[in-house]
């Protein structure tokens, strides 16, 4: 089932969408089977939710709630999917979200209003991503170590900025975006951002040279280099991209929670990696699926939602969550290997 995509030879920018090449069509078909199995898992969860709590679960408000709660981690996961597809890993996503969210909510930043908060959050995310990228691509550091170092220092800096205090947002423009009045035809703005990031991420990974290069680097970096891809620059861009996603996620989190706190984004790295892997992205690189990652995030969020609606306690929740992860991966493997 592991089959690294062969690095593009020469014409990297033109690949027929449903081309005549059998290898390509098998890939599409396989991806679809994986996606279908994930949809199956999600459908099973929806059935469980619908049976146990029909009134509360099958409700527009609950759908809005689940999608909203998936938005923040969802945006992070899209960035993470790119990094993992390229054979890397970004352990610093949670810490970057924390740092960006506290930097963007200091009293000084809040004076610049909506624009200031948005700008700062995104800039801090991109800045951290840039440092990660430079260390890994040009500093020759292993992604695991470089981003682990970023995790530690970004969390430390976030703590230093807040002094352990909770920074409450008083900018109305920000707060209003999290209220029901801001919903566009029933869709919360956070979900719109999540959807936009997903669509753009899908297009970039599947329909651009950048995406193909990412897959190529993850499949075989040396072969990609020989094929003329600037692997180092590609890596730099990928960590920048992940940082950008963290910045956007931090902004969403500020809207959602109306505050900035140095504990924000706790363990996002694990959630994002888990969602991407369950979605079908290969941890060793060379294969990545945005659709799968988003489904992975939705599965996790739906599980949490069903647990809370049924008033299950933390201990049971954790046990069940572990079991469901194993089940989801097993189901996926089975369906993928039988085709």
């Amino acid at each position: 089932m592991t089959q690294p995509v062969s690095p593009p030879r020469g014409a990297t920018d033109k690949a027929p969408p449903a081309g005549p090449r059998p290898a390509w069509s098998t890939l599409v078909f396989r991806a679809d089977v994986r996606t279908l199995s994930l949809l199956g898992v999600l459908a099973a969860l929806v059935a469980i939710g619908g049976i146990t709590k029909p009134d509360e679960f099958l409700d527009t408000r609950n759908l809005q709630l689940v999608l909203t709660q998936a938005s923040v981690i969802g945006v992070v996961t899209v960035g993470m999917t790119f990094v993992i597809t390229s054979g890397g890993i970004d352990l610093s996503v949670g810490a970057i979200v924390a740092l960006a969210s506290v930097w963007a909510t200091t009293v000084a930043t809040q004076e610049y209003g909506f624009g200031g908060i948005l700008f700062t959050a995104v800039l801090v995310g991109v800045g951290c991503g840039l440092v990660n990228g430079l260390l890994i691509a040009y500093g020759g550091m292993v992604p695991f170590i470089a981003t682990l170092a970023m995790l530690a220092s970004a969390r430390g800096l976030a703590l230093q900025i807040t002094d352990g205090k909770t920074q409450i947002v008083t900018v109305d423009g920000i707060l209003d975006l999290g209220e029901r009045d801001a919903y566009v035809f029933g869709v919360p703005p956070l979900v719109l951002v999540f959807a936009a990031v997903t669509v753009i991420g899908w297009l970039v990974l599947n329909r651009t040279t950048f995406g193909r290069r990412t897959v190529a680097v993850g499949g075989n970096a040396e072969a990609a280099r020989l094929a003329g891809i600037d692997v180092r620059r590609q890596r730099l861009y990928l960590y920048l991209l992940s940082g950008l996603c963290c910045g956007i996620a931090a902004f969403l989190l500020i809207i959602l929670s109306g505050s900035g706190q140095n504990t924000n984004g706790n363990l996002y790295e694990l959630d994002a990696i888990a969602a991407a892997i369950i979605g079908g992205t290969l941890l060793s690189g060379g294969r990545g699926t945005i659709t799968g990652s988003v489904l992975g995030v939705l599965i996790f969020t739906t599980i949490t939602n069903i647990f809370a609606l049924n008033n299950l306690q933390s201990d049971v929740q954790q046990i069940a969550k572990g079991a469901i992860i194993v089940a989801a991966v097993l189901v996926q493997r089975r369906t993928a290997s039988t085709t």
């Binding site: 509360e56 909203t68 909770t166 505050s259 924000n264 306690q313």
Partner: protein, 347 residues
Amino acid sequence: MSHLPSRRGLLFGTAAVSAGALLAGCTSNEKSDDEQPAANDQPAADDKPGRQVTIGFAGPQADHGWLNAINENAKSRAEKYQDVTLEITEGSNDTAQQIGQIETLINKKVDVLVVLPADGKALTQVGLKAMRAGIPVVNLDRIFNTPQAYRCWIGGDNYGMGLNAGHYIGEKLKDKPNARVIELAGLDNLELTKQRTQGFDDALKNYPNIRKVARQAAEFTVESGQAKMAQLLQAQSEFDALWNHDDDQGVGALRAIEQAGRDDFLMVGGAGALSAFQAIKQDDGVLKATVLYPPTMAASAIDLARALGQGKGVGGLAEFEIPASLTLYSAVVDKTNVDQYMPTGFE
């Protein structure tokens, strides 16, 4: 945040307080005209300068508003006294590092140690070491494994928090048939969360008309508070009261309540954050009260350490020396008394 209390602490605390009350009661009723009873001559620590005392203070990393307030309370209290020099270490959550810091303080031969351990059980040994070296230890909040490791323990009352929150809600809802209550707990991995929940449940047992219909645990963070509260609101379309264990996660919980457009219940918080006090004072939302887990305990710990260093007792108590254990009361702060507590609120 983790404040670690103990049943023993509770027992000792209650015993100490009731003994004090009893004594006070006795002394005030007898010999009203005669000379003062002997106990009143005890040298109690007061604001007047006494012997110089160097206090070593070691706490965890202040990564939470409450812990930050602990450090600030200790510092400002020490500055108040001319006769106190405070040696404060850089806070650390790393057990090994905190042990090292305390050993450094022991080697510096400070007169008294005030220790808020990152982990009470793991730091017991270094507490013992200090005591053996002749340096009395005031153990703040998270308790050591053995009373041999400290001269005095002072800390909050998690069970009492739950109890008082439950009674407050119970009194508000006692005339309402089939009242429904929900609980937004803190981090379930911590023993203190279980104690708070136990206290809350025990209090609610006094009100047969009230039923706890849901409980979810958040993680003491704004983000988790928002997420869990949003789910609880979706799960329970109707309820009458909510107890939230922690005001920090309460910021997120209040945000979720606002986002859901709900205002049909009363909410009680926990810990005593400034933002909660302000909301209670404004009285335009669901938050009507909060039960304290006062960070001022750090200031009291400095007082106790100073009294220890000067060989005095505590003013207002009859004994010649400070108590072995003090459990603080988790007062309920609502609109009627919020002004009094406002300065103690932490950010």
